[in-house]
Amino acid sequence: MTQPQKATEFSQSIRGAVAPLLQVAGLAKSYGARIGCTDVSFDLFPGEVLGIVGESGSGKSTLLSCLAGHQRPDQGQILYDGQDVLAMAETERRRLSRTDWAFVHQNPRDGLRMGVSAGANVGERLMAIGARHYGDIRAQATDWLGRVEIDANRIDDRPAAFSGGMQQRLQIARNLVTAPRLVFMDEPTGGLDVSVQARLLDLMRGLVRDMGLSVVIVTHDLAVVRLLAHRLMVMKSGRVVEQGLTDQVLDDPQHAYTQLLVSSVLQV
């Protein structure tokens, strides 16, 4: 396997041999009479990146927050590593979301603690799982700042003093420091200008590959999923209208909405 990011080869080599990390079946969440998302089913395998695209209001963020445990779905089942997430005790679920899972928010201010330094932001998850040695925590924070291309001498600065792109990279470092296996990302490149986006995408692609992360990434930007995602799910009005390998879906869209979505991308 020379090019692990190529979806077809990846899928053929992984599937069948390994059990899925995340299994979702018949997931539904409604807000009163309105449908948030409904009848969503998919399997996510270790090391696989799943993109979820769709226009605003298509239910992709609802789906993500149900998966990450921020909201409780009305119906359906979520299995993580064979365990039923929805039947889990809250202690256990929150422990998972501190250790094995990570959540990258669209707005870094939602995911960062703005009142404390960058080092403390990265160290928080370590301290939450019991790290009690200041020197070690600081060394790991320094290491992670380096990995997301933030200068080590900014470790004691507050995130408010960082640019938008740096804040987003800091948020990623803060989430990945406990070496999670499953990462949820909600529009991680939203609100960043294109050159900063490109750097961030490059960084994320490297981290995903090096750490073997499984990722569920929600975005409306087709270029992002083209770069990162192995598989793609297209949502409209709370339903999955098409899913498949990313290149396949983008190059040969079958559903009318997907065709519209692909053709709506501006060409430079």
Binding site: E90, T91, R94, R98, R113, G115, V116, S117, G119, A120, G123, E124, R125, M127, A128, I129, G130, R132, H133, Y134, G135, I137, R138, I155, D156
Partner: protein, 287 residues
């Protein structure tokens, strides 16, 4: 004599029963913040309304009450509260730590070790140790429930990152019996070791925030720290200028406008006792 216009110790019997129920629950679950229906007291919030209600619920006619404010028996707050209970409960009062059966305190633990049978009541402004890190009450309760205390160490980390050492010097967070993280009220961290294994019953009342928590006698209380930055009970590096005590907590007093200053014991009863025994500090003769 008791002022007959009031029931014993000012609060009505039903209120005192309600507070006692909260106290019993707090003693049963050391360090857990028990909500209670805090009453309006004839004093402003922040002046010890929580402590006063706890004291009122604990007092019996045979009690001997001592009230201290930052260690001193003779400051406005201490004098007022002592007089309040002398009038509404008719209990005996004292300034001597050893003679008191119930001590209400603001921000200090007496220097003299307490004994079994004594009750120490703390006035607490903000009972939630996680408050300044996590503003949502629903979330802090959840964090206590699930023992998610990593955030407390984020605060200590931030201290070291900024100041090179843990700069928190009062209201220093502690862990009670390996379970609940507790705010010991704004006592100096010098007093933190006295919280642990104390023979007296320690009760904490927060009136505005409507919370009561407690440490039963001989409860293990550990101050949070890092392995490579251990907790130290710090105090000014001087001896008391009046009584010469080298190991008591000191107040700094400015004596003139030319840089003159003196350090005196914050615990006035302790200092006076030592001077009666003939101990004398640097300025002991003149003062």
């Amino acid at each position: 004599m008791t002022d007959q216009a009031y029931t014993f110790a000012y609060l009505d019997e039903q209120t005192k029963r309600m507070i006692r129920r909260a106290l019993l629950k707090a003693l049963a679950v050391p360090g857990y913040q028990v909500p209670f229906a805090s009453r309006e007291m004839p004093m402003p919030y922040g002046w010890g309304t929580g402590g006063v209600q706890v004291t009122a619920a604990c007092l019996v006619p045979e009690d001997r009450l001592k009230v201290i404010d930052q260690g001193a028996d003779d400051t406005t707050n201490a004098v007022s509260i002592r007089r309040f209970f002398a009038r509404t409960a008719g209990v005996a009062t004292t300034e001597a730590t050893a003679e008191a059966t119930l001590i209400q305190t603001r921000h200090r633990i007496p220097e003299q070790p307490l004994r079994e049978g004594q009750i120490l009541v703390y006035q607490v402004p903000i009972p939630e140790p996680l408050r300044f890190l996590e503003p949502r009450e629903t979330e802090t309760r959840k964090m206590h429930e699930l023992e998610e205390y990593g955030l407390m160490h984020v605060k200590l980390y931030e201290d070291i990152a900024r100041h090179g050492t843990i700069a928190t010097s009062y209201a220093y967070p502690v862990k009670v019996e390996g379970r609940y993280v507790m705010d010991p009220s704004p006592i100096p961290k010098f007093d933190n070791p006295k919280l642990s294994g104390n023979a007296a019953i320690q009760l904490f009342g927060a009136g505005r925030e409507q919370r009561i928590y407690a440490l039963p006698p001989y409860t293990a209380v550990v101050s949070l720290d890092f392995d490579d930055h251990p907790f130290t009970a710090s105090k000014p590096g001087h001896a008391c200028d009046l009584c010469g005590a080298a190991h008591s907590y000191l107040d700094e007093v400015i004596t003139d406008d030319a840089g003159g200053r003196m350090f005196v014991c914050s615990d006035t009863d302790f200092c006076a006792g030592r001077r009666r025994e003939g101990h004398q500090g640097r300025l002991g003769g003149q003062a």
